[in-house]
């Protein structure tokens, strides 16, 4: 059985030829976990502005945080397809803030350690990361450098057996409550960024490292986001991750995984929104029938469902290419650009078809609209992604 079944946006079923039996099993466990442990409580997490650590630890126990990591640290050594399944199901939870809390930990921050760390660093961090005992963040963006990563200004200078960090990081997910931050800093200010950036492991509570402020966001309300400040923050030399001055490549490499994950998350969100909206329009009575009886509504939802199904195939194709170890920067950039925009198109219509209820905080779709907006901005804005595609056309 190589071809197995997976739910499509409409709640019925489309073949997803990329999924194997263990992917389906993972998906089923995730669905149950989200239905029983997340959905009933996540409304409160939105108010609290964070996901409880106990939930993340439970996800660790069940193996959800170590999908591709080495078995010796508690991981399951699965592939990029499994990662896409995780992201899609988290997206489908309808709580983008919860989803991103997990996905930044599993697929944006911790891969820096898994890919570049030496044996001592792996032993020190991976078991706790996979078990959810330590939550990770990645700090690249700065107040004056977002899309243009090369423009970062945070520095790290070597002093004896230490590195000393100075600078400010902005919009850092898991920045308020995270335990380990992977920080990008310039280690050679005279070189081009591509040859002068390194990545450092900074633990929460290190003197000189403070949370400037917790940021108040339009969406992703259950995800904690921070401005981080480093003022003469001294860390031991062994906290350098990978080779000195090679950090820019590590960031670029990890962007590929990040963007597959964001694309999958966005398509999970889109599928959930379509399912909610279908349910709504099939039951909502107007003009002597249901809203589903109106051809314009049926047709718009059908086209959106078709676009989501197509984009989802592209996500899994990119994940498959990545799993084969093939270069897929063009495909991944397409995924990020397409899915980031499409999820917003879907949310717009889904909110529209909910009528006045779609504008009410009590409806899931209202939150999902707010959560979706960042998908076209964060982790590679659409315009920047399209430039990456254009270079390769």
């Amino acid at each position: 059985m190589s071809a197995v079944l997976a739910s499509s946006p409409t709640g019925c079923i489309a073949e997803n030829p990329f999924l194997r039996e263990e992917h389906i099993a993972l998906r089923d466990q995730l669905r149950r976990f989200i239905r029983t442990e997340v959905a009933p409580h996540a409304g409160q997490w939105e108010i609290d502005g964070m996901v409880p650590r106990s939930i993340l630890r439970r996800m660790g126990e069940l193996g959800f945080l170590g999908i591709r990591y080495a078995q010796r640290y508690g991981g399951s050594e699965m592939d990029t397809i499994a990662t896409a399944v995780l992201a899609e199901e988290l997206g489908r939870s309808t709580f983008g803030g919860f989803a991103i809390t997990v996905l930044v930990h599993t697929d944006m921050a911790s891969p820096h350690i898994a890919n570049a760390a030496n044996a001592a660093q792996l032993d020190r961090y991976m078991p706790d990361i996979i078990a959810g005992r330590k939550i990770a963040a990645v700090a690249v963006t700065e107040p004056d450098a977002g899309s243009d990563v090369a423009a970062i200004r945070t520095t790290a200078r070597r002093e004896g057996d230490d590195w000393v960090l100075n600078g400010t990081k902005m919009y850092i997910t898991n920045g308020v409550h995270g335990d380990v931050v992977l920080v990008a800093a310039k280690t050679d200010v005279s070189a081009k960024a591509s040859r002068g950036v390194s990545i450092f492991i900074v633990e929460a509570g290190t003197p000189g490292f403070t949370i400037g402020r917790a940021l108040d966001k339009q969406g992703w309300r259950s995800s904690d986001t921070a401005e981080l400040v480093f003022e003469e923050c001294r860390i031991p030399a062994i906290n350098l991750l990978g080779s000195e001055n090679r950090g820019f490549y590590a960031i670029m490499r990890n962007f590929q995984n990040e963007r597959i994950v964001l694309g999958a998350q966005a398509m999970g969100e889109a599928q959930a929104a379509l399912a909610l909206t279908l349910d709504w329009v099939r039951n909502r009575k107007a003009f002597g029938g249901t809203l589903w009886d109106k051809q314009v509504i049926r047709q718009r939802l059908s086209m959106l469902a078709s676009r989501v199904e197509a984009a989802r195939c592209l996500v899994y194709q990119a994940a498959w290419l990545d799993a084969q170890g093939r270069d897929c920067i063009k495909d991944v950039s397409m995924v990020k650009a397409l899915c980031g925009e499409l999820v917003n198109d879907v949310m717009y219509d889904c909110q529209q078809f909910h009528g006045g209820m779609g504008y009410m905080r009590e409806s899931a779709i209202e939150r999902m609209v707010r959560d979706a907006r960042i998908q076209a901005i964060g982790g590679g804005a659409t315009e920047v992604m399209l430039e990456e595609v254009a270079k390769r056309l």
Partner: protein
């Protein structure tokens, strides 16, 4: 002590089933299939008995199309040790399943068989009882609690008006009810480990059983749609509606 647990592949309980246009059954093509929830409970109970050191081996059995192997794999990920797949293209009705199970019991010599009290597809609630009859073993159905001591098993059952506790001698048949336990999640490492556990495949002929259906399904229809309720303003209006509209008084 070995425990045998049959696990049935059924339409997932979250799926809204649809009757086929020709009335020959419910739509299953392209529909998500999962393990019968009562069988998940049975597996959980068997695995707990193994973890307590009471059982030595848990064997999950599924019967039907080749895809039932996926259902067995789920049981293995929850902690069953090995699987047996009885592959059959013909539909397997409770009597056929009970006969096949009897043949497997003769072969494997378990001390306990835990079945679901029913499968959520056809709600037959028959296989466990038939198997007990074929084997001549005692049965404790609708179990909400079981306890094994020595060569006996006590089975607490939910019955109208309270709980009933039976003391049975092993070997025995138990069918599980909803409140027996809450099945665990299959953790990802266990899902991966399950891929390496053995599944033996056989055919009904190999077990000397003719599975040909004895019952004929006449037709399947959607239940009538429930009408929305009505609010009444007074007792007088209620009585008048009961008399004139509902015509029940």
């Amino acid at each position: 002590m070995k425990i045998l647990v049959p696990v049935k592949r059924v339409v997932d309980y979250n799926v809204k089933v649809r009757v086929k246009a020709d009335g020959t059954g419910v739509e299953t093509s392209g529909v998500k299939m999962s393990m019968n929830p009562f069988d998940e409970i049975s597996i959980e109970e068997a695995v707990r008995l193994k973890e307590k050191g009471v059982a030595t081996e848990v064997i999950a059995v599924s019967m039907g199309v080749a895809a039932c192997a996926e259902t067995i794999r789920t049981a293995l990920a929850m902690g069953a040790d090995r699987g047996i797949l009885v592959e059959s293209a013909v539909e397997l009705q409770p009597l056929a399943v009970a006969k096949l199970m009897k043949a497997l019991v003769d072969k494997e010599q378990p001390q306990l068989v835990i079945l679901g009290k029913q499968a959520i597809d056809d709600d037959m609630n028959a296989t466990g009882q038939m198997l007990a009859a074929l084997l001549g073993w005692p049965q404790g159905t609708f179990a909400s609690k079981i306890e094994i001591s020595g060569d006996g098993i006590s089975v607490t059952r939910e019955i109208d008006g309270g709980l009933e506790t039976l003391a049975l001698t092993l070997p025995a048949i138990v069918t599980s009810d909803l409140r027996l336990n809450e099945p665990r999640y299959a953790s990802l490492p266990n899902i991966m480990k399950a891929r390496k556990k053995p599944i033996e495949t056989m055919k009904p002929e190999d077990l000397g059983v003719d599975p040909t259906p004895r019952l004929t399904l006449v037709s399947v229809a959607e239940p009538p749609k429930r009408q929305a309720g009505k609010k009444v303003g007074s007792v007088a209006e209620l009585v008048s509606k009961l008399r004139t509209e509902a015509k029940v008084i």
